[in-house]
């Protein structure tokens, strides 16, 4: 009968903040190949578990529930912790199975959006600008990027609270916005990448062709056809290579290094 009773212990704002802090600091500290972020998730939820379940047996069962395989984007995990905390607060111990399903059901969709936004698009957009300016000896781009990262960290602090208040309806309410944001950021990222091809890849053709008394500089000919022709060809070549089976980025890097040395030795690039 006691399991049927709705949990009476209420979580406070402080509890939720604590979950947020613990998730940010601990999510990946004990990252391992077996259960990935499981220990981090457990660490984030510990204060909640200790507060909600007074019966030691229930407490232990919930600890075991939260130490199962978990993996999502660290930036997004706070939402899941918050939704989980709200569910456990309302349903108590009988939510055990629900919570298992909730965690595995949410980690995928959140990782899909989170990896794209925080793993690829933001680092691409700000990293490109920072690196481009850095190559010109200007540190300003890197400082802007640092400020953005600090702002993201501050926002992450609120994710558990948002998840706690909005519950699982956050997935439907936020999904449209996140998808729109992802589409917009993708567009911006691709525009910047297009510019990067011509600005950060550099290749100087040193080969020249002598026909009779006329010597033609190779670089000049290429420039007349199209500026940055060699960088475009190199990017297209590696793009094609990466689409082939068994080709990895590591192999591509080694190949480019060997190719550079050969082309320099042959006097084609310099």
């Amino acid at each position: 009968m006691e399991n049927m009773k709705t949990n009476e212990t209420k979580l406070t704002k402080k509890d939720i903040s604590s979950v947020s802090r613990r998730w940010i600091m601990g999510s990946q500290i004990t990252w391992n190949y077996e259960k990935q972020m499981a220990i981090g998730y457990l660490w984030a939820m510990l204060p909640i578990i200790r507060k909600l379940y007074k019966d030691p047996k229930e407490q232990q069962e919930m600890l075991k529930t939260h130490v199962q395989f978990f993996n999502t984007t660290p930036h997004m995990g706070g939402f899941i912790c918050g939704i989980d905390a709200a569910t456990e607060e309302h349903e108590g111990y009988k939510a055990k199975e629900t919570v298992k399903g909730l965690k595995t059901g949410l980690m995928g969709p959140f990782a899909g959006v989170g990896d794209t936004l925080f793993g690829v698009l933001f680092p691409t957009i700000f990293g490109s600008i920072a690196a481009y300016m850095g190559q010109e000896g200007n540190i300003a781009g890197a400082i802007i990027w640092l400020i953005v990262n600090i702002a993201i960290l501050c926002l992450r602090y609120f994710t558990a609270g948002i998840g706690y208040r909005e519950g699982s309806k956050i997935i439907t309410s936020a999904k449209d916005k996140l998808d729109a944001l992802t589409a917009a950021a993708t567009l911006l990222g691709i525009t910047v990448v297009g510019a990067l091809v011509s600005t950060v890849v550099s290749a100087n053709v040193t080969a020249s062709f002598t026909s009779g008394e006329v010597t033609v500089n190779g670089q000049e000919i290429l420039d007349q056809i199209m500026p940055c022709m060699v960088p475009v060809i190199v990017v297209a070549f590696i793009y094609w290579l990466l689409g082939r089976k068994k080709m990895t980025s590591t192999k591509a890097i080694i190949l480019v290094m060997v190719l550079s040395i050969v082309l320099y030795a042959l006097g084609i690039l310099g």
Binding site: Y33, I139, D179, I190, L196, V201, L242
Partner: protein
């Protein structure tokens, strides 16, 4: 210039702090850009650190650690590359030439650290069986040790013993190698760009790829200008997605999601 002991210690601590930060607060996010700058500050030559970090950053654009995949560790590479670019006096290209193989080798230690943490995770589970909360906390945080050592040890060893090796390398390095590394430094950012293009839904947004190229190559618009143009187009796209009718939004979202999944690049 010769490296001082305090610099070696500071750089070793830096490598630890950067890896811990990338796992938690992520304000430097484990990016070589920041590693290069910070190593440059310690070495008293920010310009070199900035240039080494920037070039390595361009190589890892779009390379992320999803679901626990390891990527070349250019964080450590940027630190070591910056140091030897400064101490050898051989310049940025030489530093990058060293940083790339270092980064490629260091990926093995990243794997080892992730593997070692299985041990602490097992101990956490054993602590749950005993309901020992202190042991849960202790073993969770001990996970920091393999992570920290996986960066600190190689940096420390390379900085202590590397100088002689690097000096010997510099003295006997033939022209074809130095020149080749210089060419490689110019071409390597192409790898990062190509990886990104594999990941992003390029086919859907091909016009913007061309527009970005056109603006930079033919009009010589600086990068910030291109970003402003990109933001303008992105805002339009965002409004279109949000304000469009529900069906359009759903179709759009489905498209972009599909494109990203199709183009997903895995190392």
């Amino acid at each position: 210039m010769e490296i001082q002991m305090w610099q070696i210690i500071a750089l070793t601590i830096l490598s630890m702090i950067l890896i811990w930060d990338s796992l938690s607060t992520a304000i430097f996010d484990g990016k070589p850009m920041f590693a290069g700058i910070l190593a440059g500050i310690i070495m008293g030559d920010i310009t070199t650190g900035l240039a080494v970090g920037a070039t390595l950053q361009l190589m890892v654009l779009g390379v992320g650690t999803y679901g626990g995949s390891s990527m070349p560790d250019y964080l450590t590479g940027a630190i070591v590359g910056t140091v030897f670019a400064v101490t050898s006096g051989q310049g940025v290209e030489f530093g990058i030439g060293l940083a790339v193989p270092v980064g490629l080798l260091m990926v093995n230690l990243d794997v080892l650290a992730r593997f070692c943490n299985v041990f602490f995770a097992k101990r956490v589970e054993a602590a749950i069986d005993r309901m020992d909360y202190k042991a849960i906390a202790r073993n969770t945080w001990l996970g920091m040790v393999p992570w920290g050592l996986s960066r600190a040890l190689p940096v420390f060893i390379m900085l202590i013993f590397g100088e002689d090796i690097v000096n010997a390398l510099v003295n006997y390095m033939p022209d074809w190698l130095t020149g080749g590394l210089r060419v490689a430094g110019g071409l390597l950012p192409a790898v990062g760009i190509a990886i990104l293009l594999r990941y992003l839904p390029v086919k859907k947004y091909i016009s913007f790829l061309l527009l970005g190229f056109f603006a930079a190559a033919y009009l010589s618009v600086p990068m910030v200008g291109i970003a402003i143009f990109g933001v303008a187009m992105a805002v339009l796209e965002f409004k279109k997605s949000i304000n469009g009718n529900q069906v359009a939004v759903a179709a759009n979202a489905g498209d972009s999601q599909e494109g990203l999944l199709d183009g997903e690049y895995e190392d």
